[in-house]
Amino acid sequence: MLSYIIRRVLQMIPTLFGVMLLVFCLFSVFGGDPSLVLAGKHMTPATLANVRAQLGLDQPLTTQFMIFVKQVFTLDFGTSWGSQQPVRDVLASRVGPSLTLSGALLVVDLLLAVPLAALVAYFRGGLTDRIVTICCTLAMSISALVYIVAGQYLLAYKWGLFPVGGWGHGFWTNLLIYVPLPMLMGLMVSLGPDIRFYRSFFVEEMNHDYVRTARAKGLSEQKVMLKHVLRNALIPVVTTVMMSLPYLLIGALVLESFFQIPGMGNEVVRAMNNSDFPIIKAITVYVALATMVFNLLADLIYKLIDPRVQLK
């Protein structure tokens, strides 16, 4: 186990190097000249040269790459060109709101989708299955924007059940007051595909021979489903969830911008609109790192829940 982890961590080094090279090339070749943006419309050649020197753009590419590598390893991407704050502080203040919303959305989605999927899988082919499947398809087919606009208008503006948007101070305030409405809208979009996806895992497991053995033992249907089938069907569910975790960092772009939540998603949009390179570079690298780490974690957890998995 330990030697496996060490080997996997060592394998990350070339991957990370590849990511750095790719990100660097993207920005220096296709990213355009940021000094033109920063110097503003009424620049003189002197100010432009000045800005270029400040950004280190007058240095040879290899030196610039070395600076970038140093930034990655120290996780210090300098200051944001927009707010002039250190990138680290900007992102640190943004990650909280994003995780609060996406984390809550993920947890509630799982708590609803897994039992519902098990239920419809058990009654597959029957009326319950058909009704839920139709509802899922219906919910999936409506655009997220419709839910958001309708939700904000009806639930928040007309009936006053939730605030229309915004963000407060303190984790619990946000979780209990500002998160529920955007989360509900997120659920409308995610539940349909998730239930149908997880349903297929359950249906597949229920066709296995060990289910017949469990019944032949004299176990009740609840026991067969909740013990034997659930444990096996959760294996692919956990894999899917683990793979989606790095994206929690980026946050829910649409929800954050419609509900004015100061999260990562909003920051990504702002940075891209304003060519705020340090922020974009930092987020790209962070997400790449998170993907690598979560992939490793997913494999380790996979080993924990599925005894058949061998880590080689």
């Binding site: 030697s3 060490i6 080997r7 082919g125 296995h208 021979d209 060990y210 017949r212 053995t213 469990a214 019944r215 032949a216 033992k217 004299g218 176990l219 009740s220 034997h228 444990r231 096996n232 294996i235 829940i305 599925d306 005894p307 058949r308 080689k312």
Partner: protein, 564 residues
């Protein structure tokens, strides 16, 4: 009901409802008894309704599409099992009647330890606590002869071999001292040597616990040694029932005779194996002449394998590696139009030999001279031409055909890859001719693999190889997954094709009787090494190695008089 009768089946009629609501009759009203403390064998081919019978007794058939005729009765100690519901039904399952299945690997839950799975039954029916139940599970594993039971109880199913998994299933089944044990093809997925052990274990447990056993199998030859009564089924009906002595010595029904005769025998090698149809037509079966086998000096050697070796690297520690020698120093010659049989148990390396010859595994040593050219030393480009000339047929006809391809695509794709036939029309014509040759109707072309039975699929796999006009055909356990009756048909087909096209076969199998029937020379392998090699008749007449004798002893001998 007779005091000595444990289970009585009367007029059991079961139908399945198809997707359009049409009914297919699987059991057409069968009657039989299982006496107390006896073993009853229920014998029949796939589709005869034998498994449906056992599932109906346990009420394990899917309720959605199963229709059981209301007049059907299954009486167990005075109770009508078909009328049981809910808690009463669950109390019967696992406690009064327990069941073991064909595929022990998939019948065990992969994510729980085997000890826990046995303990679960005990906690459910015997009311034991977790710790006591686990202790009892270890004792049960000891009883079924699992080595090191305390450690094995904490193992997961995949960490055990097939035979050990089936022992676990048996331990689980006998946990609550059931009065009836239903064994549904419990040894079909196992090697012959393991099969023998499992059958012995079941016979011992039956005597020790005084329970009744309903043994379901497609292989009539298998049950002679331990069953008391035999029920022969076909197409949902009982063809013949009687004591084992009567069935083996004086079978009345032609179908019973057919089943008894389609398994290859060690002491004869007919030109053609008997198949069911031979017995069902008027006039009955006429024994054909004997075939003489063996290599001759005049044979043209087309494949000469010298010191073939294959080892795999197994990772150990951080950077370490360990070598596993799957095949060590195997040499043999294969002449045109002859068959070399490779026999051995799972893990003997026999399959690896076949795979290295078609370079699906890269050999780590030795030569394989095909018409004098070393197959193993060729570049991939050079080998492409030879790929056509050496083809392989795998064991599992369900997994080795692409389920999304029609038979036409399956047959014409290899021809296209190797540039056989100029246009698709021409290839389809050739495919059609081949289908006809392997005994399938031409309309099969537009169908998908799942629409065929196991034997038919293996015929498709054979036809796929023949599309390329190969010279050598490697048959890797190609008939092992088939019913004995279907096995005889496929073996006859292979023999006809060999006579017709002068094909050379490398026939890999764990079943010595089959290998003896089809092979000119035999090579016995154990743990990657050649144990014995020579003319097949000589080896079977006087096996030199102890391992060969062990394999020979595992072959079912049919019914033997008790006095002898």
């Amino acid at each position: 009901m007779n005091q000595d009768t444990l289970l009585q089946v009367r007029n059991l009629k079961v139908s399945f409802r198809g997707e359009e609501g049409e009914l297919t009759e699987a059991l057409k009203g069968i009657n039989f008894d299982i006496p107390r403390n006896r073993t009853v064998a229920l014998v029949g081919e796939s589709g005869s309704g034998k498994s449906v019978t056992s599932m109906a007794i346990m009420q394990l058939l899917p309720a959605r599409n199963t229709v059981i005729d209301p007049a059907s009765q299954v009486t167990f100690e005075g109770r009508d099992l078909l009328a049981l519901e809910g808690a009463e039904l669950r109390k019967m399952r696992g406690k009064d009647i327990a069941m073991i299945f064909q595929e022990p690997m998939s019948s065990l839950n992969p994510v729980f330890t085997v000890g826990d799975q046995i303990a679960e039954t005990l906690m459910l029916h015997a009311g034991l606590g977790r710790r006591d139940a686990f202790k009892r599970a270890v004792a049960l594993l000891t009883e079924v002869g699992l080595p090191d039971p305390e450690k094995r109880a904490k193992a997961y199913p995949h960490e055990l071999s097939g035979g050990q998994q089936q022992r676990v299933m048996i331990a689980m089944a006998i946990a609550c001292e059931p009065k009836l044990l239903i064994a549904d093809e419990p040894t079909t997925a196992l090697d012959v040597t393991i099969q023998k052990q499992i059958l012995q274990l079941l016979a011992d447990l039956q005597k020790k616990h005084g329970m009744s056993v309903l043994f379901i199998t497609h292989d009539l030859g298998l049950v002679g040694e331990f069953a008391d009564d035999v029920v022969v089924m076909r197409h949902g009906e009982i063809r013949e029932a009687g004591s084992v002595e009567q069935i083996f010595n004086a079978p009345a029904n032609p179908y019973t005779k057919a089943l008894l005769n389609c398994r290859p025998h060690l002491d004869s090698r007919p030109l053609r194996l008997a198949v069911i149809d031979d017995f069902m037509q008027p006039g009955g079966y006429v024994k054909p002449g004997e075939r003489v086998r063996g290599y001759e000096a005049s044979d043209e050697i087309i494949l000469d394998v010298q010191h073939l070796a294959k080892s795999f690297d197994i990772r150990q520690g951080l950077f370490g590696k360990r070598q596993f020698h799957a095949v060590k120093d195997v040499s043999f010659q294969l002449p045109r139009g002859k068959t070399l049989g490779i026999v051995g148990e799972s893990g003997s390396g026999k399959t690896t030999v076949g795979l290295t010859l078609v370079r699906l595994h890269q050999a780590t040593g030795g030569k394989a001279l095909f018409h004098g050219k070393d197959l193993l030393a060729m570049s991939a480009r050079e080998f492409h031409e030879y790929k056509r000339r050496i083809q392989i047929i795998f064991q599992n006809p369900y997994a080795s055909l692409n389920p999304r391809f029609t038979v036409e695509q399956i047959l014409t794709e290899p021809m296209m890859l190797h540039g056989i036939g100029r246009v698709q029309m021409e290839r389809v014509k050739m495919a059609q001719a081949l289908l006809d040759r392997v005994g399938l109707p031409a309309r099969s072309l537009s169908r998908y693999p799942h629409e065929f039975s196991g034997g038919q699929r293996q015929r498709i796999a054979i036809a796929r190889c023949l599309t390329l006009k190969p010279e050598v055909l490697i048959c890797d356990e190609s008939v092992s997954a088939l019913d004995v009756s279907v096995q005889a048909q496929v073996l006859n087909l292979l023999q006809e094709l060999q006579d017709e096209y002068k094909l050379s076969y490398l026939f890999i199998s764990h079943d010595l009787a089959v290998v003896k029937h089809i092979s000119d020379q035999v090579l016995v392998m154990n743990k990657g090494e050649v144990v014995e090699q020579g003319d097949s008749d000589a080896i079977y007449r006087a096996p030199a190695a102890a391992y060969t004798r062990k394999l020979l002893d595992s072959i079912p001998t049919g019914w033997q008089p008790q006095a002898a």
